[in-house]
């Protein structure tokens, strides 16, 4: 079985994101960038399937500017076999990403594509579902467990009310939730080996995909700040305030 994983380069989850004064976006210069944490989970799952002998090859794809190659190298250091970089200067929207990934799928013919459930920058939570729609494949979104069966995958999904299990035929798209696994750290030999693994360079034109945005970002603003708070001395004081001043209790 061949597995394709989609890895996105995003502002590191620990960075306190700042809105640019002109409202055009957020500060990205000299900001630490990392692989989207949900995509680390996707890579880890694929590598575990390879280690278990279930997957023969794991291919990591990233779409975006030249620096995305670093993200692909990270995926290769985790143990992915090779990379594909579709270079575009503008970060494309989920629909365009899904179309490009569908183009990669048409060439690579994987049995399984694993993506993160959401990228922590734009928080769209769309790409995997869109890819599944474009391919006409079933989807196992927000997965907290993935069991490989005979020509099918059993996916346990994190839903608002608890957990749900579905069974989907291969080929399929799976998106990762936080509890699917705990990603490892890339090992030093892994990092050394990654340097020699191949990364194919592609462009959206190779797949005949128009990446022109459908959404226009009119402005980006800071959320309104909360009023300053008060430190209290005792539980009794808290109950008094909530009851008498706020009328909540």
């Amino acid at each position: 079985m061949k597995i394709l994983v989609a890895v996105k380069r995003v502002i590191d989850f620990n960075v306190r994101v700042r809105v640019l004064p002109d409202g055009s976006g957020v500060e990205t210069d000299n900001v630490k960038m990392s692989m989207n944490p949900f995509d680390e989970i996707a890579v880890e799952e694929a590598i575990r399937l390879k280690e278990a002998g279930t997957a023969a090859e794991v291919v990591a794809v990233s779409i975006g500017p030249a620096r995305c190659q670093e993200t692909i190298r990270t995926a290769l250091a985790f143990g992915c076999d090779r990379g594909i970089h579709v270079e575009t200067d503008q970060p494309p929207e989920p629909l365009a990403v899904a179309k490009l990934l569908a183009g990669v799928v048409a060439v690579e013919n994987p049995s399984l594509v694993i993506l993160g459930k959401q990228a922590i920058d734009d928080d769209s939570n769309q790409t995997g579902q869109m890819l599944a729609a474009l391919l006409g494949w079933p989807q196992g979104t927000f997965a907290s467990e993935l069991v490989i069966g005979d020509g099918a995958f059993d996916v346990t999904r994190e839903i608002d009310g608890g957990l749900e299990t579905i069974s989907i035929n291969a080929p399929a798209v799976v998106t990762t939730d936080l509890r699917l696994n705990e990603p490892r750290y890339p090992s030093l030999p892994g990092i050394m080996k990654a340097k020699r693994k191949p990364i194919e360079a592609r462009t959206p034109a190779d797949y005949g995909v128009d990446v022109a945005p459908r959404l226009e970002t009119v402005s980006v603003a800071e959320p309104p700040p909360r009023p300053p708070g008060r430190m209290l001395d005792s539980a009794a004081e808290l109950v008094h305030i909530l009851r008498e001043e706020k009328g909540i209790l």
Partner: protein
């Protein structure tokens, strides 16, 4: 042009998110129809027809409704969508699973998790865990949108009297099969709609210690939530998680107990009306968003609150 709400329903129960989505729809146009895709079609359609402001309810039927799989529902939504200018669904896991599949099938770039309607094509949505609010304008002929339930008031129900018409037949495809669902059982209010939410973090130390919060929740009629760390540690189930990648809540009162206040957690609760933080570390970032803070050992303070009530 009329708006179609793709309703998440649970038989005769109308989740808060669906009612908030109707409010967002009414902000766009006075002609709002609701599509119900429920195994229990008659009960769901009857409940939806009682939402004040709804013009008509379209009731889907057929074997593909069982299990609510996006693979089956998508063609039915696309069929029902003809003639509408906007499709809106609540941004819970149900809508998040379904709507992007619908959007890609219609070649539309979805707008996720909106918190405000500016005009028919312009919307506000939080990005970067709510650290920024983006105003985006869609160039697509049809707008496909998921709605953040906490950002809109709930539409009134019952009281409405929308007509009910039969809609698309939902076929069952064999590429995906529903196997089972394990729903958390609780007598407490649902997190998403609760007036008061009490959340515990890693500081709780164990699942057993959450009983401390249960006792307080029972006294206040509150829902209980948690940080990711508490869920990852197995103290409580996944559906308790509040945050950027869990549930978003905005109750009248949010009490954070033993939670440090990482941005990913704040993203899910910082729009609460009143925030109380209890933490032994006075430097914990949670105090920066709290209206009231108590510095000290939660194992001492929480029982004191219970006693003071």
């Amino acid at each position: 042009m009329a708006v179609l709400v793709i309703a998440e329903t649970d038989g005769a129960n109308l989740p808060r998110g669906t009612l908030a989505t109707v409010t967002a729809a009414l902000a766009l146009d006075s002609e709002v129809d609701v599509l119900v895709l429920d195994e229990n079609a008659d009960a769901a359609a009857a409940a939806a027809s009682g939402i004040v402001g709804v013009r008509s309810v379209i009731k889907a039927g057929g074997p593909g409704l069982a299990g609510g799989l996006a693979e089956n529902l998508t063609p039915a939504v696309v069929e029902a969508a003809a003639g509408y200018g906007h499709l809106l669904a609540p941004a819970g896991t149900w809508g998040k699973n379904l709507m992007p599949r619908v959007a890609a099938s219609m070649d539309v770039q979805q707008i996720s998790d909106i918190t405000e309607v500016i005009d028919a094509e312009t919307f506000v949505r939080p990005i970067y865990a709510g650290n920024a609010l983006a105003t985006v304008r869609s160039r697509d002929p049809v707008k496909i949108i998921t709605v953040r339930g906490t950002a809109f008031a709930v539409a009134e129900a019952p009281g409405g009297s929308a007509s009910v018409t039969d809609g698309p037949e939902v076929a069952a495809h064999d590429s995906a099969r529903f196997v089972s669902r394990e729903l958390s059982q609780s007598d407490r209010p649902e997190l998403a709609g609760a007036r008061i939410v009490i959340s515990g973090g890693r500081g709780m130390g164990s699942g057993e210690n959450f009983e401390l919060l249960d006792r307080l929740a029972d006294k206040l009629g509150a829902a209980v939530g948690a940080s990711r760390a508490a869920v990852d540690a197995g103290y409580v189930p996944n559906d308790f998680q509040v945050g950027q990648t869990g549930k978003v809540v905005a109750p009248e009162l949010y009490i954070a107990v033993g939670i440090s206040g990482a941005i990913q957690h704040l993203a899910g609760m910082k729009d609460s009306k009143v925030i109380v933080a209890i933490n032994k570390d006075q430097e914990a970032p949670i105090f920066q968003v709290a209206d009231y803070g108590l510095v000290g050992d939660l194992f001492k303070i929480v029982p004191e609150i219970v006693d003071a009530l």
